[in-house]
Amino acid sequence: MASTSRWAGLGALAVFLAVLPQVLPNNYYVDVAVLAGFNAIVCVGLNLLIGYAGQISLGHAGFFGLGAYSSAILVTHYGWPPLAALLAGALLVGLLAFAIARPILKLKGHYLAMATLGIGIIISIVLNTEAQITGGPDGIAAGNFSLGGFELKGERAWYWVIAGLLLVTVWLATNLVDSPVGRALRALHGSEVGAEVVGVDTTRYKVLVFVVSAVIASIAGSLFAHYTSQLTPTKADFFKSIELVTMVVFGGMASTFGALVGAAFLTMLPQVLTVFEDYEPIILGGIMMGTMIFMPRGLVPTISAFLTRRRP
């Protein structure tokens, strides 16, 4: 039952991603689609932590930034091959997330939010101030991503890579959610003590999902470092973390496709709203407030519940 809807969703996403570039008029639109893809990958991972396991993180842009800067620094200063730099970044972020997860995930609610916020801010400050290796506020250029002589260049080539990676991420995330591991994550969201008494080591699962979501952010960050012409610390700052959480909540918590839609929607919306010039932030804020007031569960769960109800 659950598996057919999963394949249907994945199939629909694949078709959508395949058709999309055909209808995009120029490379500016492709660029927005690629940026939406990067955000979507991070959000699908972050949704495992926030939406499914019920743990907040206001520091995930920090992990995205650490991955990005690991790649940029290892490639430009040390001449590493981009793939090796990406893996090293993911390993570093994974180890860091693992080391901090145990103490901070003992915290709940506002306290956890504060602790993760602190981590994000520390990472952001380090990236800003260690200018001799990070380039400081001016940023750093990582160059093109290349693998075995093939160099990844141009929006359209990137589009296919990111679309493929997004599809794989969604596939893995939906697999995980509908497995004993995923049920343990959702259970500890529902009741930690209830999960414990039937044998779920809740601390272990919290650490696991924190590390997984951080590593996904890191990998996306590493690729982003190569995609963007100049990587700056704003991609790792507090506002970026908030943006990521907003995308997850806006699209719908505990819905993988919700995270995806939220990321795509909130990446595009500011671009669309630029026609309103100075009023853009006000209209953006208004749309977000309206959505949360009228669809508190987020876009995708609300719409899917509406459609299910209408079915005879």
């Binding site: 598996s3 893995l172 697999n175 995980l176 509908d178 497995s179 004993p180 591991v181 995923g182 049920r183 343990a184 959702r186 259970a187 969201h189 529902g190 009741s191 003590v193 209830g194 999960a195 414990e196 008494v197 039937v198 044998g199 779920v200 080591d201 809740t202 696991l208 505990a254």
Partner: protein, 254 residues
């Protein structure tokens, strides 16, 4: 055979002795009730046995192992599970999934196979679904096999917790006020479920206020008052014990 033994157990909360110097044993294959007036320390004792609290003093042995201070999930691995007075249902999941979580320890739960949904994971889930449906029938929830937990009435949720606990295949099942908040009919139905559970070979310990239920189904009763053991024995012995009567009805001990 002794399944659980408690020796000189004590728990202090900032100078208040919720449980003190408490010793008793529980034989396997019995229904054992813990009763006592409000504030007697019943729920504290439950939380000590099931690893929610760490004892201030004393020892707890379960199935030959010293378990005082061990985490609840470890105790579950060794064959102990429980339900809660204030429900601890996973309201973000379906009723069936609630029970499937109960089966967690008996499934392949490795991360990478789960991530790739290898055939073994899919097969395990299929089996877990069958077992969960069977357990839901066992506790009388066949009507809710496809329901979401949040759409179920209170009485059904109490049974759902029992089904979830049973899915972990416990040797010892602790039920914290299984009949609280239920009407007379529902309470009798829960009665039957508990007796069925005991007949299936699971040792049951329950905290309960419903005296009719306690006297009807218990093999052995432990009476607590002010965190200490007041009396112990069969339902008849306890019912006729003047100290117990005094504690419940008030008045001095003759």
């Amino acid at each position: 055979m002794t399944l659980l033994s408690v020796e000189k157990l004590g728990k202090e909360f900032g100078g208040v002795h919720a449980v003190s110097d408490l010793s008793f044993t529980i034989k396997s294959g019995t229904i054992h009730s813990i009763i006592g007036p409000n504030g007697a320390g019943k729920t504290t004792l439950f939380n000590l046995i099931t690893g929610i609290y760490t004892p201030s003093s004393g020892r707890i042995r379960f199935d030959g192992k010293e378990i005082a201070g061990r985490a609840p999930f470890e105790l579950a691995q060794w064959g102990m599970s429980r339900t809660f007075q204030n429900l601890q249902i996973f309201f973000n999941m379906s009723a069936m999934e609630n029970v499937m979580v109960g089966h967690h320890l008996h499934l392949d739960r490795r991360f990478l196979p789960s991530l790739l949904r290898l055939p073994g994971i899919a097969r395990g889930d299929e089996k877990a679904r069958e077992i969960s449906a069977e357990l839901m029938r066992f506790v009388g929830l066949e009507a809710y096999v496809k329901a979401d937990a949040q759409s179920m009435p209170y009485g059904a949720l109490k049974r759902l917790e029992i089904a979830r606990a049973l899915a972990s295949k416990p040797k010892l099942l602790l039920l914290d006020e299984p009949a609280a908040g239920l009407n007379a009919t529902e309470s009798r139905e829960i009665d039957e479920v508990i007796e069925k559970v005991a007949q299936s070979g699971v040792t049951v310990v329950l905290v309960e206020h419903d005296m009719k239920m306690v006297m009807g189904i218990s093999d052995h009763i432990l009476v607590l008052d002010y965190g200490r053991k007041l009396a112990e024995g069969t339902p008849d012995e306890v019912r006729n014990n003047p100290v117990v009567v005094a504690a419940y009805l008030g008045g001095g001990v003759p």
